[in-house]
Subunit: 339 residues, 2 copies
DNA sequence: ACTGGCACTCAGAAGGGAAGAGTGCCAGTC
DNA sequence: GACTGGCACTCTTCCCTTCTGAGTGCCAGT
């Protein structure tokens, strides 16, 4: 359907539009790119591209602008991820190496990504579900209340206070703690659930007032996918793209404030590609219809644990952004593995 | 210097400007407010107010707009904090009552404040320095590494991993843990530092490899004022005030992204007033020169622990915002005390 | 299949009143 | 002496028109 020259024209349009922010016409296109044909020929090609829905005209006598479909084709077939420069890579490494703990790594990552891409960065904390439980701590904080602290292999700490209803003594808490830790060691999600259920049933009826809520809370914490923590940074960068968002960045800011939206934003692990791109309306949320999300999974010791990415206008530098996201994802995984 | 009528005029100007978003002239002023005199008289009063620096003209033939100084006078002498309606109070209570833990309380608070005031909300986590340490937990996470978890009376959990350099055994960790907990019980900042130093010296030379870094880390964590966690919400509301910020909300968003700025933003406990207001240039940061910050301390069981507030354009409804901030601060303290 | 040329369209800039809001000042009134 | 009505003046804002330039589609010619 689309011969090589049409693809070359589309590529040129995307590149020009991204860098100039202005609809691109046939004449400027031939001037800036060595396509070897005249504007008139380009016009014919453009007419076809428009008919097929890859480009569009903002108004009748303006140049062309890529559509979501056009960007999609560009990302899939017309461009390659652009590796970062050596200097950039070194800067990333140095910046992340200074981190002292998990929180610090995540915070630094989000700032780094935002700065590197001049866009909004989103970083998810390493997932509980895929991590193993390293330790469970139980602490009485009031006569009937127990604080549960859960430490995972990814260094994440989850806490929760439960109320047992009845008075609980230090001794039974200590007993339960040691049993719990013995049971959970190294287990992942499903196996953990089974093992904990067994453990719960092994306690006598008198201990259930304590054991039952504690184990329920542990299971809930582990299973609770909704508790995914996500950190956002670089929202100020949005201000540079007011025009791309039809004059108001409000809907975008609103979407980014909803935790639920954020969680779905980064999407699922995208099969074989290292970097996933969601363009415009491919995004799940209305307010993000004119944004694109470039995201990637990061892994700790070959275990995919979470995702990170950036949100920007559909008119973004895809190759560069993809390169930055990929590079940062790799480094973060490496840093976290070392901790 | 300023007689009652001039004050009445200033009050009317502030109220009108806040509600209409437009410079207010002498004629409209007499139409909307029952000042009992003609526009010409008002004009004379306005001329004086302008000379004194309470109001200004955006351009020669426009109406008047309050200056920072004008707002200041309005807040200090011309208005009273507006209590929330019963319905609003009930809504606050219900919304916050649903919170399950500290994180949830803080998150709900920030959302609540943002929605209630239609502005950007800022909430600080209860301060470590003023809280007592409820429990310290030590967990070996690797041969030479120990995870320190610190639980404060305000329900906050701080974590840190340290590397002792040498291999440490479970037994000495357990011993140190029980000693630590025995020592810190109920102590606040300064006393805690002294007690911990004593404790450290009481250990033998062979144990110092473990004891020294652990105690140092505990002290650091407790003393570290910079680690104040602050949560932000409702930034989307900024978009509504683009005009107030000379066309770009970028500097504001940037300022709000800097942790350091945020920490200084809420300011210090403001003496006797329940609610502190910082207007325009009174703010410490350049980017916030056309915003005002309304903040308040919140207390847990009469112990002031942290602050919360909102950031909005200087052209804001001060009485209403102050009422909302005060009410939320009270409720949060109450909720946290109950947990 | 490509190109040059031409007529056409339309957004956006530039210019020019006209309207409207607001001001300062002054002379007159209570 | 304080207040008011009136008046001349100053600006912004809005709307209208005009003009320019970029860009298009189409067609006949190479």
């Amino acid at each position: 359907m689309l011969d090589d020259r049409k693809l070359a024209v589309l590529r040129a349009i995307v590149q020009d539009y991204v860098s100039t922010e202005e609809p691109v016409g046939s004449k400027t296109l031939t001037e800036r790119h060595d396509l070897g044909v005249s504007p008139a020929t380009i016009r014919n090609e453009m007419a076809v591209l428009e008919e097929e829905g890859y480009i569009a005209q903002p108004h009748p006598s303006a140049g062309r602008v890529p559509t979501d479909k056009g960007y999609r084709l560009f990302v899939d077939r017309l461009s390659a991820i652009k590796p970062l420069s050596v200097a950039e890579r070194r800067a990333i490494g140095q910046f992340l190496d200074g981190a002292v703990d998990l929180d610090d790594v995540i915070n630094r990552t989000v700032r780094l990504l935002a700065q590197l891409t001049s866009q909004v960065a989103v970083v998810q904390y390493p997932s509980l579900a895929r991590a193993t439980v390293r330790h469970i701590e139980l602490l009485p904080v009031a006569p009937t209340r127990v604080l549960i602290v859960l430490i995972t292999s990814s260094g994440r700490v989850e806490q929760r206070v439960i109320d047992c209803g009845v008075q609980v003594d230090e001794q039974s808490i200590a007993a339960l703690r040691s049993q719990l830790n013995h049971t959970v060691a190294g287990l992942r999600s499903h196996d953990l659930a089974v093992a904990l259920a067994d453990l719960r049933d092994s306690f006598g009826a008198d201990a259930q007032a304590l054991v039952k809520p504690v184990i329920a809370a542990v299971l809930e914490t582990v299973a609770d996918q909704h508790e995914e923590r996500i950190v956002l940074g670089g929202t100020a960068n949005l201000a540079r793209f007011v025009q791309d968002f039809h004059g108001s960045i409000r809907p975008v800011l609103e979407a980014l404030e909803e935790q639920v939206v954020l969680i779905h934003l980064l999407g699922e692990a995208g099969g074989s590609q290292p970097v996933t791109v969601r363009i415009g309306h491919e995004n799940p949320h209305e307010g993000l219809a004119s944004t694109s999300v470039v995201s990637s999974t990061y892994s700790i010791e070959d275990q995919a644990v979470a995702r990170l990415g950036v949100v920007g206008p559909t008119r973004m530098d895809y190759p560069g952004t993809m390169g930055a996201v990929r590079a940062v994802a790799r480094y973060v995984g490496r840093i976290l593995a070392g901790q």
